[in-house]
């Protein structure tokens, strides 16, 4: 226990330097946490994907519609439990910089296939009954200060015109990984209006979300669905929700790679700051190390002294960094435009990664000073002056 005390005292011998180093490491750990949180946010859709859900979309790309009539055909497959569908609406709410998802949905089946959207039975009933009603996520409601009964006015682009929807339900996310910034309204309402202006575009939906009975059969069911519509005018491509979300993330691969590269650069910077401090400390203590060796302390002891000191500093730095990363992540999510990251949380894995990197860096940063301390002969060390 005494040895530990000596290590601790050594670590804090140069108060100002120790303080600066700890702050430096804390800042880097915080930056690491923030970057990884952004990466996590990007992957949020993949993480939230349910294993028993398939997404069926037009084979050419997601912007091409599928006939509504496919719904019955898919529902008839014995492996399928529920089918719901969505249609991307887009349009403009307030101005062009509001990025939340606005979609037409099938109000009858939405909550069966997406149990992670939690609504009260009364609200669900109210949403079902009114043709031009919509359900919005709790986060969205908070963002725009919307409550049940409020009107949301959208200007359509893909579906030109002015559109008004009454908020009839606000869904709560089942857990932190669920996007609570969506807005969903009756597809029937959209379709009826479209039928009047451009009848050739009516009867179409964007994509189906298919809930299957056995998640292990996803590959086989996907094939069966696609086989149903082969050689038709609108061929389908079915994949698990996870794969579908991954496709989106993969398109931004370059940015995610850059973020990850930067995270590693940060770890490199922590190492430089700590390594610098350790080299200076060990250099100043050359004589002391020689005295310890004279007293009979071995290389193993010295390693414990130097690495222990380095670890104490990196621990304190990492602890402080993790303490400040939470408010910083919160601040960052306020700074980015609304709706960019529907789910923005610090993942436990990020905390663990940051802490274990700090340990690793603590050990690595002591290598150079330790090698010097061990290499120095006692007689030279005793003669060393500043």
């Amino acid at each position: 226990m005494k040895i530990l005390k000596l290590i601790f005292k050594n670590a804090l011998r140069h108060k100002l330097r120790a303080f600066l180093t700890i702050v430096g490491i804390a800042i880097a750990v915080m930056a690491f946490g923030l970057l990884q949180t952004v990466v996590t946010a990007w992957n949020a859709g993949v993480e939230a994907a349910a294993a028993d859900r398939l997404i069926t979309r037009q084979a050419v790309s997601f912007i091409f519609p599928l006939p509504y009539a496919y719904k019955d055909q898919i529902s008839k497959l014995p492996e399928v439990k529920n089918v719901t569908f969505f249609n991307w609406f887009g349009g403009v709410y307030i101005d062009k910089n509001q990025f939340f998802a606005r979609m037409a949905c099938d109000p009858e089946t939405l909550f069966d296939v997406y149990p992670e959207f939690v609504v009260t039975p009364a609200e669900r009933e109210a949403f079902l009954k009114e043709r031009n009603s919509c359900v919005i996520g709790a986060d969205l409601a908070k963002m725009y200060k919307l409550k049940v009964g409020d009107i949301m006015e959208l200007e359509g682009d893909i579906y030109p015109g002015q559109w008004q929807f009454v908020v009839r339900a606000i869904y709560q996310p089942r857990d932190k990984t669920v996007d609570a910034t969506g807005m969903y309204f009756h597809w029937q309402y959209l379709d009826e209006r479209i039928r009047q202006v451009s009848p050739e575009r009516a009867g179409n939906i964007g994509w189906f979300a298919v809930q299957i009975k056995d998640a292990r059969q996803s590959a086989a069911v996907s094939e069966r669905i696609d086989a149903l519509f082969q050689n038709s005018r609108a061929e389908t491509k079915t994949e698990t929700e996870r794969a579908f979300q991954q496709g989106f993330v993969a398109s931004s691969g370059a940015i995610i790679t850059s973020l990850n590269v930067m995270s590693f650069v940060i770890i490199g910077i922590i190492m430089l700051v700590l390594g610098n401090t350790m080299i200076m400390s060990a250099r100043e203590r050359t004589r002391e190390y020689a005295v310890l060796k004279t007293l009979g302390f071995t290389g193993g002891h010295l390693s414990a002294f130097v690495a222990g000191e380095s670890l104490i500093i990196s621990f304190l730095g990492a602890g402080l960094g993790l303490a400040i990363v939470y408010p910083v992540v919160a601040m960052f999510s306020i700074l980015v435009p609304k709706g960019w990251f529907p789910v923005f949380n610090l993942a436990p894995s990020t905390v663990i990664l940051a802490a274990s990197s700090a340990i690793l860096v603590g050990v690595l940063a002591s290598i150079i000073p330790l090698r010097r301390a061990l290499k120095t002969r006692i007689v030279d060390g005793l003669r060393f002056i500043g």
């Binding site: 005494k2 005390k5 005295v291 302390f297 071995t298 290389g299 002969r377 005793l382």
Partner: protein, 229 residues
Amino acid sequence: MPTAISVENVYKSYMRDKLEVPVLNNVSLTIQEGEFIALMGPSGSGKTTLLNIIAGIDRPTRGRVLVQGTDIATLSEATLAKWRSRHVGFIFQFYNLIPVLTAYENVELPLMLTPLNKAQRKDQVERALAMVGLADRMKHYPKQLSGGQEQRVAIARAIASDPDILVADEPTGDLDKRSADDIMTLLERLNQELGKTIVMVTHDPAAAERAGTVRHLEKGDLLPEEKMR
């Protein structure tokens, strides 16, 4: 009296810019148990090198050094470190106390390497500090002590693990006359009362006078013995 230290034909040289510089020229020296010997000589004469070799913190280029029958020149680094912690106590010119540790903790330091438990260590540390007359300064940090007191803590550290041999390199070199006198008296007592073998390097004739034997080195050669007392 049995032989404590036997230096046999020790030759030591350093390489400086590819040039071999001899420091010790086949020095032979026998020190008896309980002897107090002072090594004197101008700087560069090799006295500190000889001391370091005897203490096992430097190695001879050629020759044997037997300390209580052990040829320390053949020991590995790790064994040598262990050996030092058991058999040799060090006293340096600049005390070399660890500044972040109290007097008590500094003295306890070498005991950390022994299997003694906490209570036994406490016992030894307190005895050593009492011996050097600093029982009331245990909680003080080196900064809070005078030079003479610091050196006494260093001596307490050297004797804490009860080694047979004490090695002192200019123990009074950085002290005023009175403190130097106190330190020499203390070393004398350790030699006479506890029977420690002491090897001391010094410039100071007054300090050398207190030793039983004085040997002179010059340019790496040990000059013939001359009895002082």
